[in-house]
Symmetry: C2
Subunit: 212 residues, 2 copies
């Protein structure tokens, strides 16, 4: 079971859809459990499956594999309240802290260095890995669209990182790239601001590939 | 004539080589004019051309198209001394401000926001465009290696940006991407730190492509 905390936004729904397409059981948690259930039902209808369940964030926090997909501004409060349930687990943080204004999209400067580092500071007994920050939610949600991109995965625990790299490659055509330690997540998170600005200029839904 | 200020480092040499390969006249400037001449001669020998000249930074600063390729730490002093010669010109900044240590490669936090914004602040009467920050110097310098990547170009003046986007595509197989205003250069500069960490992990010489 892959469980989403704050999973009703575009990135959470998109990843949930793709993991369900890969045959994984998924749980979509929300602050409003009725909303979690509603989103899960809609995704099941879209996929003609019953792989996706929904409910509250507290219920979501009991799974083995947890994805944090809250808005950045909500991360701190939600994680502090769920911390006891998240100890010693691999926690996948997909948050890119951004502000949107008429002049463009900007990365927020996070006091702890990045959303992932803030998450690790709060969940000091968990194994935080950042991933999926750059992948286009728009494309994830179009179930027939091929996702031809790389997912850069940053984390300090090699086993947790490997688990998340394998999970990412369950999405058809995705390649995982080891992005090093969690401190490098900042570069991946901030890159999302650049990609969204490029999207505005070209009317794209961009992601990235590393060439070598 | 494409002229490099601080052009004897790997990125300057690599870009000079590629522009000469594309048939452009190039000038490699250095604080030590003898070193500029020496580097130019070596590149001419490698390419069997005489397209590349070398000399001092002051001489370099008289060209119409100027590339700033100094180490980040040297940018301020060099640009302040050459400012009168750079007024009203398109200035291409390729600098990614980085620190290297045993624990990895990190982006330096620049007071003015990025190397490109610092450059624009100093050269207040010039049209600064950032580009080429992510392209692998190692690959640029291998003259038979295909450079299959995107160059993200950020700048506030549309005409200057277009000029630099066209220049980048003189490198065979490179695609230019409009990265928006100069304030977005920070994301492109910092991405270089991520790519260099990935290089260490995989023993690659990575660049990026935007997928859409």
């Amino acid at each position: 079971m892959i469980s989403f905390i704050g999973g009703t936004g575009p990135e959470g729904r998109g990843l949930a859809l793709r993991f369900a397409l890969a045959g994984e059981k998924v749980f979509i948690g929300s602050r409003d459990s009725a909303r979690g259930i509603e989103v899960a039902e809609k995704l099941n209808d879209l996929l003609h499956t019953n792989f996706i369940e929904g409910g509250g964030n507290e219920e979501a926090s009991h799974a083995d594999t947890i994805v944090i997909a809250t808005p950045y501004q909500a991360q701190k409060d939600i994680l502090q309240s769920l911390k006891p349930n998240l100890n010693h687990k691999t926690i996948i943080n997909v948050i890119a802290p951004l502000t949107f204004s008429k002049s463009g999209i900007k990365a927020i400067s996070v006091k702890d260095g990045s959303a992932a580092l803030e998450c690790q500071k709060i969940l000091s007994n968990s194994l935080v890995v950042s991933a999926f920050n750059n992948i286009s939610a728009h494309d994830l949600l179009k179930k027939d669209k091929k996702i031809d991109c790389d997912v850069i995965v940053c984390g300090n625990d090699p086993n947790s990182k490997k688990t998340v790299m394998n999970l990412a490659e369950k999405i058809h055509q995705v390649r995982s790239i080891d992005g090093g330690g969690l401190e490098n997540s900042k570069y991946v998170e901030d890159l999302t601001a650049l990609l969204l600005n490029i999207n505005k200029i070209y009317n794209w839904h961009s992601s990235i590939k590393i060439t070598s």
